[in-house]
């Protein structure tokens, strides 16, 4: 299952990355992208498919968190 939301790369371990979504952590393959710890990524089917600039990822996560609270 994919998650259409940026997650933060917590660490690189054994050729995989661990992605933190706040509500949980998932492992993913990052062979399609140049990834470092602290990057924000979009993962589809356990593969990193896009890296999202940190500022925009954090802005977006804050936005949907606040939007949900305001609904």
């Amino acid at each position: 299952m994919c998650l259409s939301i940026p997650g933060k790369v917590e660490k690189i371990e054994n050729g995989k990355i661990i992605v933190d979504y706040g509500s949980g952590k998932r492992t993913a393959d990052f062979s399609l992208a140049d990834i470092q710890e602290g990057d924000y990524v979009i993962v589809k089917e356990k593969i990193v498919i896009e890296k999202i600039p940190k500022k925009e990822a954090e802005e977006y996560l804050k936005l949907i968190k606040n939007a949900g609270k305001n609904d």
Binding site: L32, E50, G68
Partner: protein, 167 residues
């Protein structure tokens, strides 16, 4: 297992286009955790929800599709109308900055848009990953639910997932 997701029925086409929005809708409080989990389960099983479920979970998109269908004198559960909505009207909603799109970063708005590009590469990683040229910029797009596109095909993509071959 994925045959139903790949089907060319109105429900399958609508679900392929709309499924990528589900996490946003859940986070925005527009759908329940139960509905979100059901969407994930449908996708995992490669099955398509029925119209009643889709109309409950995506009322805003359905309403816009209904308006479009009415203006054209068509039934709203029509493949042609659904595709027309997602390929034409959906992006205009984002560009107009309706709802939370008013504040969403540009990179996220681009992911939310339905984009059309040309397949330039295709690889099998247990599921298909396409390389797609979106007007000069090549990007990777998952083809799990649209595995049959070929190099040179024009496809639509939503949230980095291939959705449809544009004929």
């Amino acid at each position: 297992m994925l045959e139903k997701m790949i089907d060319e029925t109105p429900e399958a086409v609508f679900f392929r286009y709309s499924a990528g929005c589900a996490y946003q809708l859940f986070n925005l409080g527009r759908i329940t955790k139960q509905d979100y989990d059901e969407i994930k389960n449908f996708r995992a099983r490669g099955e398509i929800p029925d119209r009643a479920f889709l109309e409950k979970v995506y009322p805003v998109a359905i309403e816009r599709i209904k308006r479009l269908a009415t203006s054209l004198g068509r039934d709203y559960w029509s493949i042609e109308i659904i595709k027309k909505y997602f390929l034409e009207e959906h992006n205009r909603v984002i560009d107009r900055g309706e709802g939370y799109y008013a504040q969403a970063p540009d990179v996220i708005k681009e992911l939310c848009k339905v984009r059309v590009g040309i397949v330039t590469g295709k690889e099998d990683r247990g599921f298909i990953v396409y390389t797609v040229d979106f007007g000069g910029r090549e990007e990777k797009v998952v083809g799990k639910y649209l595995p049959n596109a070929k190099k040179g095909d024009k496809i639509s993509a939503h949230w980095k997932e291939a959705v449809d071959i544009i004929r």
